[in-house]
Assembly symmetry: C2
Homo-oligomer: 731 residues x 2
Amino acid sequence: MGLLTGSHQLDEADANNFGVDWVIHYQFEDTEMSQAIDEFRTLIQDLHEAKLQMQVRPGYGASLLVCIRVPRDYLGNMVYKSRVKDWLYGIIHEVPIGDEQTSIDAETAAEELRSVYHAVTWSKALGGAGITAQSGKWKNVTGTFPLHDPSANAELLRKWSRTLLLTAEDLDAIRALYGEKVAYYFAFIQCYSTFLIFPAVWGVFSWLYLGPYSITCASVNCLWCIVFVEYWKIRETDLSIRWNVKGVGALKVNRPQYVWDKEVRDSVTGEVVRVFPAHKQFLRQMLLLPFATVASIALGSLIVVTFAMEIFISEVYRGPFKEYLEFLPTVLFSLSLPWINNTLTRIATQLTDYENYRTQDQFDIAQTSKTFVMNFITSFLPTILTAFVYVPFGARLLPYLSVFYVGSFAKAGDTRRVHVDPSRLQQEVIYLSVTGQVLNFGEEVVLPYVKRVLVQKWRDYRQKYAMAAHGRRYSHRTDQLLNDVPDEASFLWRVRTEAEADEYNVHDDTLEMCVQYGYLALFGVSWPLVPLGFLANNWLELRGDFFKLSLECQRPPPIRADSIGPSLQGLEVLTWLGTLSTAAIVYLYRGEMADVRLSTLLLVLLTAEWAYLGLRFVVRTAVEKIATGSLRREAAKQYAVRKSYLDTISRSTSPKGRPRVRFQDRVKVYSTATDATTNTQEFLHPGQHESSSEERFWSCPTQDTADAGVRLIKALRAGDSIQPEKMKKGA
Amino acid sequence: MGLLTGSHQLDEADANNFGVDWVIHYQFEDTEMSQAIDEFRTLIQDLHEAKLQMQVRPGYGASLLVCIRVPRDYLGNMVYKSRVKDWLYGIIHEVPIGDEQTSIDAETAAEELRSVYHAVTWSKALGGAGITAQSGKWKNVTGTFPLHDPSANAELLRKWSRTLLLTAEDLDAIRALYGEKVAYYFAFIQCYSTFLIFPAVWGVFSWLYLGPYSITCASVNCLWCIVFVEYWKIRETDLSIRWNVKGVGALKVNRPQYVWDKEVRDSVTGEVVRVFPAHKQFLRQMLLLPFATVASIALGSLIVVTFAMEIFISEVYRGPFKEYLEFLPTVLFSLSLPWINNTLTRIATQLTDYENYRTQDQFDIAQTSKTFVMNFITSFLPTILTAFVYVPFGARLLPYLSVFYVGSFAKAGDTRRVHVDPSRLQQEVIYLSVTGQVLNFGEEVVLPYVKRVLVQKWRDYRQKYAMAAHGRRYSHRTDQLLNDVPDEASFLWRVRTEAEADEYNVHDDTLEMCVQYGYLALFGVSWPLVPLGFLANNWLELRGDFFKLSLECQRPPPIRADSIGPSLQGLEVLTWLGTLSTAAIVYLYRGEMADVRLSTLLLVLLTAEWAYLGLRFVVRTAVEKIATGSLRREAAKQYAVRKSYLDTISRSTSPKGRPRVRFQDRVKVYSTATDATTNTQEFLHPGQHESSSEERFWSCPTQDTADAGVRLIKALRAGDSIQPEKMKKGA
């Protein structure tokens, strides 16, 4: 794991953050000097007004690094206020005791950093400095980020390189370092990988003892998918309670771009709420439908054409340059995909902007949903085409590919002697679950790392060269600023590197896992060893992602979340599609393709659909019933907290006056009724409304009631023998 | 509405309840006199120990009526304690201020009666008298019930006879009189009837302008069903917030029959919880599957056989006694159905008992679910058979009915000249939506009313006769007890009538509405005027049900609930089935039966299923987004309450000590940092762990930061023109 712990050895000095809480990276490459100076002065002024301390250092190139520190007891006060807000919104149950000046300890580094983040980014009205990177007047601020904690990161990586599964404490550690949003991703991949163990073992068993496309294997896999998704839902709630973030979406602040229709003073809380009507937003969200259609058509047709060309060239075409032409479709596809994807993403962003979400969270969720749609199409459509179009109908469809016969290619192919190989699906699935995953990991983690190291080396070399070439000197003061103090050198090197690093987007990683889950759910049945491949991959993936997060990306602001977001819906849709796809694959590939009948296929699909709905209901009920420990604990905690309040309040404000008694229209006042053994008549003060007949009704003393009843029983029972007629009728 | 206001005129005296809160009906018809006396003494003793006042009066036949009154301030204290419990469990947000002796007003009569109910029925450990009717040692207690409020009932009935729709205030009035569980039923029928207006109007339009089995009509109906169910879910939550009953299931007490595995002391609340493992219960619940199978087979085969016989006799049979034989299957069915239903209900009750639910609520829900399964089969299976078996395949299946050719019937029929009439489905649906509903109403409301009046008349006549025949006299004291005081006569007449009345089961009425909804969802498309018929019926049904509840049944204990219970799941299943059924009916009946192809039918079903899933998702999202006003208000209310607590607490317990500041491992203490315009260095007291390099890093005063930055900008920008190489690389 030498790669993971980094090429430079960590010592105490390297791990020192010099008390810097936050860094702002200001670039003025393309800005007039006077404008840059004005902007920078405003920046410093804004930070200063937000009661922050700062120091400035040169960055790489035409950029400055503003190091920010929040005075400790101001920070403690912010943490306290944040806790109070949490409590007011019902996120936590323990009331934070204190007043305006109270300063309390943060529970984790992430909680502390979140307050710093708020101090830097929140609008001035909320007491922050209002610095949001790359937006509005701060488009020259290319990044605002906290510094990594190198020793904690290295320790976690070292620990995980020796273990198989993450523990709850590891997840807590991630949460303490990076906040709940990131921790949710790691909790998800951890939960998913643990769940993968079962299908991996079962897959090996199926591979050895059950035939290919076994119905048993398929059913077990589908059931596993349903159980996993339902369990994860409960697990999410569990974690949200463990991390005190349940319902945290409610207290997020408005994003700067939010446009509201009117300001309404809430009649209950008395606070001003900026309202954008929900039905308007919903109508705007409906634009997702045409967008999804356009995206599907654009990406779908691209994929279909590529696929058809590829098939044509590899299977039918017999003309010249076959070996080169074979790569043509993939090359064309790879060239046009980024352009289409970029266009679609731009449209998606505009749509999401137009949908006008109140909080950044909601915005992210909406944007991610759209990315999902696009990603699912590009990820799954090629394999879907192979599984359900090419292999079953290929022999019948290939002749139509004659549309490609133009010019010199004419007559170069012969469609009649085409033989479609049903194992093509399996090959594709094997590629996806083994080669694809490895390549993906390389592209995602190793490549950027190598690139970063090379860029760094190149930069150092050029810097040295430039230094040697120029001897120009500034004023002593400026020179002092330009050259790093030896003490700070390695620290500043780290800050500069982090300033140049990419932002970490947790949604991308989550999406990647969802796509993997999708392959498993949709096509897993065609090669039972798929889960085994994924399991091995995920062991590396988890560590690789943490490596990327901690060493290759900026430390993300520790944002809170109580779910993995729209991915959850993605998982549900994939599970549903997976059941249908699995059923269809098993039916199509199990026997001879020629025996396939449409009505049987439809019946199989319908049955699979109903089985899915039924099983999901049963599994959901079972999982909810059994795995609700933490919900119960949550309720118990709330109960305990309320109980203790009640004691406090009743002790401090116990009203010792006369108990108020006013009952509907029949008012009766008893002096006391706790001692009920004495005659009740003594306590009876007839009320105003009590009629004399009512008084008489209740006049018989209580202890006589039993005797009266006994008399009646005797009388009625005696009458029983004499008046059988009457009694029978009355019974 | 003379029928509804009752045959006897209400005057002030009639409406007087003599301050009686609760009545216990004790019957000793089949009990030894000595045992009866012992039991009765125990009963009085138990009530006495629960601090209740009582009076005894003779009932009809060998029975006694124990009238119970709770001392007013003891009741007020119980109401207070109940509120405290509500608050502890998070049902209400306002904390009830007070101490052990506090006595407060109930908000509604129902709240008051609920406390009385608890005083009578709760176990002695909880401070009640532990009297539960017809169970355990109280099997001779045939009923415990509160008395009706005749004037309030009459007023509501009078008001509703003049209006079309119920208002929110009407629902509140029902809630105030009968508690939330009953009010939920009326809210449901009210919401459902209001929703019916749209399909009624649309149905008339379709009937006039669209052809039969129109696709447009079918799609609109299905969409309406989805919207209705999703809206009702939101409405339920809305009402639960309006009535302060959200999550009320949590605080219900254990039912006496509950068996627990172990007692656990909750580590957080410190209370003893009686635990029965959830997974055990779930496994027991799984027995529902074999039960549903057995019930389906038993009822299904009965229905199929009846159906086949009926068809055979009416369509095929040409022998003697045809006019009498035609009724034979229905008669046989009617005779065997009660027996089968009773057997199944007995099994269902045993199953539910075995499932061992903690609260009566959960028990009721589980029992109702099972009743649902049985009811759905008997209600819908005959029409399903007509729609999907008899009409489409009748001509092909009828020849197989030759199984009935026995003895003299042989050769009496001719299956070849059978013509199946496709309009039979429509006729059946018309019957169900018009005739069936009217008959049902008569059976449910009018018949019991007539029966009750006749029984009453007969009893009065016999009593007079018996009096005249016998002159036997008891002791003066007993005689006084046996003969009603003139003042009390009409009151006691009412109490005796109520004691003899049936218990009101709200689940039955809800179920009836669900079945009606089911007809609409499943078969509505075959006759577009169905909703119109249902709408007219429901106007009467709502009033008839209230009439039944208030004049023909005992007043039910005012139990709380936050939902209509398992009916909601029933509605969802019916909506789903309805989509499939509607699609299939439209496909089958639209064209010629002969053109029907299985694969097309399956395709239609699959498409309908997917359309249903997609639409439901969209509708759910939309309804949740738009109709969440009261959820927001709920959150705002909680916020306001917490805010006021916070103010109270921070005023009373403000800790004016030195603010605690302890931060991770880098401890720094500032005297104060609120005045940040002065030089920060003045406030800096270097902490123990602060390294000297860190101290030096922060040594530059804040106001110099801007200048330093400007210097750097100038230097780097100047360098820009001189060292383009270096800067470009750094960018």
